[in-house]
Amino acid sequence: MKKEAPEYVDFAVTARKYKTLLTKKYLNRKVWVDPNPFEIQSFIPGTILQISVKEGEVVEEGAPLLILEAMKMQNRIEMPFTAKIKKINVAIGERIPKDTLMIELEAVE
């Protein structure tokens, strides 16, 4: 930390920009993305045990979509609202990280 030649960057705190260095942690922070209700993402890393729907199918709110096993728990992922299954991006037996886009939905007319 002492040896690096400082290359200061502009850093805005409210209405004023300061010259400063950024920390690794700040640079690696997760940038907020507005959640898209039509994207079903994994909330935990785990393995897909079962998929109960098919692409193109219209599924009722509350119906089971798939089972994601993580930490020895079988988590049942349910349909958040009635919609059409646009695309399934995971397969049975697949091991996925957190925040993986598992299923994409489409509004029904």
Partner: protein, 514 residues
């Protein structure tokens, strides 16, 4: 004659146990680039000062083939000694004896020396190098950890507790260091985690090395679990000696005073801080210009570098510095910086160390990640710690003191004993640009040339409010001072505060937001 024989027998007995796990295991330890437990103790303590106890303690486990197993010292060395003449209690886990695994007797040796430290009111140093719980002893090992944690908690705020991680320290074992005041780590040698890479990969499918998961650098820079980071074991032991010389032996004492030396005049204190509030500098230069012999022992240097904490001396007496660091993230307060400063302030308050706050901060770090990480909860820790502290509290506002940060950085309103400000200080509810935009919104919007009007209003605000005199006119600042007067004033303020007597309402304990 019999006595002579007995003495020889004792020497032989000792020599065997002192070998720990034996030559082969020692070779392995050395091959890993590590010193042995005994070498570490001897290198840390004053020559000839170490006295060992419980050398002949043996485990009592009968199951899983343990009955026939001899474990010298049960895998841990305990005793007393001195560091620069100051008595301390110490234990070091011996990795050469069954991987330094912790069984009940091993733990009882540790708790015994901890009890001793607490009774004698001397610091306790623990050197951790252990594969974890001795599985063969089952619940006995868990009981051992629990008994250590309980004593860590009882001793907290009474005697300084130091943890040195010189090997693996995983699972439940990590919580003893976490409960102690200072954790020392060494590159490539220290490994700390609750669940290791194997479990994480099996359960979650995430692949990571031990070093990336819980190596020295990770704990010094990312998690904040470590307070001191060294590249070698010898450097680490030197850091411990420095720290022990700066802190008191118990909460009933003050740190030992040494012959004072003037700061080395490396840089004129007037030239360190750029007058443009947007330009950065290294606030440690200010600390060097103020502290005796320009010496400063920084704590948690790599984690949350936007706030600087550590120990120095003024007129030979130990003081603590808490300073915003404009060089990183413009010196803002965020979750980590608040957390870091708050715990440090509580340590200093518990151990009678006056706190000097050097303030130059633009406010809190804006961002969704900060809000969601609980910057309200973490930020509140700092308000709590400053308000609660009864040691002498002195603040010097070097440049910016805006908004909530002005309150948080040991303001008069939280109980500061002395509030000084340099003449260039800007003490205001927010930065001039932001304030002008809000207060003069109408004028700016109605002006023909909005930018020119904004500039004019910002300038007006700077002249009227971005200075120390508004706060001084209300008595929130005691004195506006010249930078060159700072050290003399600090010495004087500390002198005046020597018999400070400040009380808090009687209570079992407060409920800080941690």
């Amino acid at each position: 004659m019999t006595l002579k024989k007995n003495i020889l027998a004792l020497r032989q007995k000792k020599a065997i146990v002192e070998k720990g796990g034996g030559d082969k295991a020692i070779e392995k330890q050395v091959a890993m680039g590590k010193m042995t437990a005994r070498e570490r103790i001897l290198a840390l303590l004053d020559a000839g000062s170490f006295h060992e106890y419980d050398l002949f303690v043996e485990h009592e486990e009968q199951n899983f083939g343990m009955a026939s197993k001899e474990l010298p010292g049960d895998g841990v060395i305990t005793g007393t000694g001195t560091i620069n003449g100051a008595p301390i209690c110490i234990y070091a886990q011996d990795f050469t004896v069954m991987g330094g695994s912790l069984g009940l007797k091993h733990a009882r040796k540790i708790t015994k020396i901890m009890d001793h430290a607490l009774k004698m009111k001397v610091p306790c140093i623990g050197i951790n190098d252990s594969g974890g719980a001795r599985i063969q002893e089952g619940i006995g090992a868990l009981a051992g950890y629990g008994e250590i944690f309980y004593r860590n908690t009882m001793a907290s705020g009474v005697i300084p507790q130091i943890s040195v991680i010189l090997g693996p320290c995983a699972g439940g074992a990590v919580y003893s260091p976490a409960l102690t005041d200072f954790v020392f780590v060494v590159e490539n040698i220290s490994k700390m985690f609750i669940t290791g890479p194997n479990v994480i990969e099996t359960v979650l499918g995430e692949k990571i090395s031990q070093e990336d998961l819980g190596g020295a650098r990770v704990h010094a820079e990312i998690t904040g679990n470590a307070h001191f980071y060294a590249l070698s074991e010898m450097e680490c032991l030197d850091q411990i000696k420095d720290l022990v010389s700066l802190i008191p032996h118990s909460n009933q004492q003050k740190a030992a005073r040494i012959e004072p030396k003037k700061p080395k005049n490396k840089k004129n204190i007037e030239n360190i801080i750029p007058s443009d509030p947007k330009q950065p500098y290294d606030v440690r230069e200010v600390i060097f210009a103020l502290s005796d012999d320009s010496k400063f022992l920084e704590v948690q240097e790599l984690w949350a570098p936007n706030i600087v904490i550590g120990f120095g001396r003024l007129d030979g007496e130990t003081v603590a510095f808490v300073a915003n660091q404009p060089m990183y993230l413009a010196g803002v307060l965020d979750c980590d910086a608040s957390d870091k400063a708050a715990r440090f302030i509580r340590f200093c308050d518990a151990f009678n160390i006056p706190i000097i706050t050097l303030e130059d901060m633009p406010g809190y770090l804006p961002g969704v990640d900060q809000e969601h990480a609980g910057v309200i909860r973490h930020g509140a820790k700092m308000l709590y710690a400053y308000s609660e502290a009864t040691v002498p509290k002195i603040t010097v506002i070097l440049r910016k003191a805006y908004g909530g940060g002005y309150i948080a950085m040991n303001s008069r309103h939280l109980g500061a004993d002395f509030m000084f400000a340099w003449p260039g200080a800007e003490i205001a509810v927010m930065g001039p640009e932001g304030a002008a935009n809000i207060i003069f919104r109408k004028e700016i919007m109605e002006a023909e040339d909005e930018d020119a009007m904004r500039q004019q209003k910002v300038q007006e605000y700077i002249e009227k409010f971005a200075n120390p005199y508004v706060a001084a006119s209300k008595g929130y600042i005691d004195a506006v001072i010249e930078p060159l007067e700072t050290r003399e004033l600090l010495l004087h303020a500390l002198d005046v505060s020597k018999n400070k007597d400040d009380h808090r309402p009687a209570k079992k304990h407060g409920v800080p937001p941690f």
